[in-house]
Symmetry: C2
Subunit: 356 residues, 2 copies
């Protein structure tokens, strides 16, 4: 059993904490471990470090290697450019095929948080046992707790086998991010799950699915295969990636495949999609605040304040998000997370690229 952690994100949604050189998965929101380090920690009870691969972009490989002094360097797979998740997963599958063609492959995003680690481990155990038993593409569906419009949904069908008490389900359909009314109806119907982006399958199952659903990508991956582990690898991967069309594993494979299985998960999952999501997810003090660093609070409520270098005195503010980093400060009304991108765009236009 191998784990593949996808650490290729480049999001600016956590600016100024996340940057081009340090995207979300490579930063820490707690002041301790980074999201990527937490992801590795979570899977280690199930998969030893030497069987964990991290796949990331060239710009972040050095930082990733630095965050895992004990990880074999060859376990960091470098994509020369981002081509979305299907090529990323395909490339990782080729690496694993060479190591062990019969391996079970657990694919995990690097930038989510999970509170109940034991339940997470149990769910993945069920998922890998299921994947072992057949040619299945297994995904974890998160039992929704609110009508979230920021997530994709998966509609579950009948149980895979009668009598498994709804823990292993066939998949009826994939649904893109819904509007609020649709999300509410999903929640009421009880058969819809959040798409977590976690997958479990045999290496042979995913490669077969890629061959069937994305033959052009499969063809490019086959061209890479003989070079893996040789001096020609980097060049071969680059050549293939220049031709590969970006496509997500959801759109390219999961939505079309007939052998998709859903394992419901309920372990305090959050994809931390924005400052607002981080704030909703974080433990708060009696006044609803989330503070990090030296904060002098006079009557402030419902605010997230991260101070890195300079103490922040917060006097009578409410529902604010304030983030100070080494070289920039964000002051934002709660609920405006989606507009961080606008500020980043302005920086880009004004030649303040060193702040990106």
């Amino acid at each position: 059993m191998y784990a593949v952690i996808m650490a290729g994100g480049r999001g600016t949604r956590f600016w100024p904490l996340s940057r081009e050189a340090k995207p979300k998965q490579l930063i820490s929101f707690t002041g301790q471990k980074t999201l990527l380090q937490e992801t590795v920690d979570r899977i280690e009870p199930l998969v030893p470090l030497r069987k964990i691969l991290i796949i990331t972009g060239a710009a972040h490989a050095e930082e990733v290697i630095g965050q895992f002094p004990d990880l074999p360097k060859e376990n960091v797979i470098i994509e020369p450019m981002g081509r979305n998740t299907a090529p990323c997963i395909g490339l990782a599958a080729c690496h694993l095929k060479k190591k062990d063609p019969d391996a079970i492959m657990i694919v995990l995003p690097a930038d989510h948080t999970i509170t109940d680690h034991a339940s997470f481990t149990d769910t993945l155990k069920t998922a890998s046992e299921t994947a072992q038993q057949g040619n299945y593409l297994v995904t974890i569906g998160i039992r929704p707790s609110a009508p979230e419009t920021g997530y994709g949904y998966i509609e579950a069908g009948l149980p895979l086998a009668p009598g498994n008490r709804g823990t292993i389900l066939k998949v009826a359909s994939f649904r893109e991010k819904p509007d609020f009314e649709t999300a509410r109806s999903f929640l009421e119907r009880g058969t819809f799950y959040w798409n977590s982006g976690m997958f479990i399958w045999k290496v042979s199952s995913i490669l077969e699915a890629l061959e069937r659903e994305l033959p052009e990508l499969y063809h490019e991956l086959q061209a890479i295969e003989p070079s893996l582990g040789t001096l020609g690898e980097e060049k071969a991967v680059k050549k293939a990636y220049e031709r590969i069309c970006p496509v997500s594993i959801d759109y390219g494979v999961m939505e079309k495949a007939g052998n998709v299985i859903l394992i419901p998960g309920d372990f305090g999952w959050n994809d931390l999609g924005s400052w607002d999501a981080l704030m909703d997810f974080s433990p708060k003090d009696a006044n609803g605040n989330v503070f990090r660093g030296t904060i002098i609070n006079i009557d402030s409520t419902g605010s997230l304040i991260f101070a890195k270098e300079k103490p922040v005195a917060a006097v009578g503010v409410s529902n604010l998000i304030v983030v100070e980093t080494e070289d920039a400060i964000l002051v934002m009304r709660k609920g405006r997370s989606q507009d961080v991108k606008k500020a980043v765009d302005v920086l880009e236009k004004n030649n303040l690229k060193e702040l990106l």
Copy 2:
């Protein structure tokens, strides 16, 4: 004619921009000249630099001298400790008596702003001509434009001479900071003026008033007099100041004296008593913002943001005051200026004295 600029304030109301080592009058709110430098500039058309004295505390003398390379060093008078305005003015009067016992003395606070310099000069001319004509204690009363509760008021009486069209008035009474209803009635009645803290008198007139109203202070000042300009000056001043009771010139002299004259002034005066006052007074952009430094604004309104070292992205905020300095950040709801002091108190209690 001499000018005495009182630059002894130690206010923390503009923390984190004002500090113990750099109180309000020694900082710049425009990014250019400090309030003290602006005060000197304003009076120079009337009084040459060599006849301008600046009186300040020992902790700030070096900074004051540094801000005026062309000012004779002996024009900076140092108080060993703060004893409010009556001793400060008395000490300056003793210095002037030595230079010229017949001098006219213009006393100005160092930390106010004025927009109409020509009108200010005209008003001071009228004031000094009036002071020249008799044993008067002349003060400038600001024609109020709003029912301000943060200022003291002076009630004017009859004109000093019939036919001077209300430009030189006797004083009926001094009033402490009123509540809102009282301030409104003051405004309606039209005979009340804001107490500006600016005074114009003969050196002999103020010394006579001090002798009459504050005989103990006068006695201490007399003990200092022979030492002025000698090696024993510092020691004599220190010895006297250790015994002198703190008292304001308003309470100690002006409210009791019968020879007080008010010259109405209307020259865009503001005492900049707080961040809120600064914001009200400052020119604003189309969205009601006051920005200094690199600010990336996405839909923010009615906010004052001063960035010194780090660019500030303001996303969807309104009615905020944000001040970044070299070592601290204030984030405050507009209208909460009075609570800056609470934040400073917390810093003091938590051994963050380097931030004071």
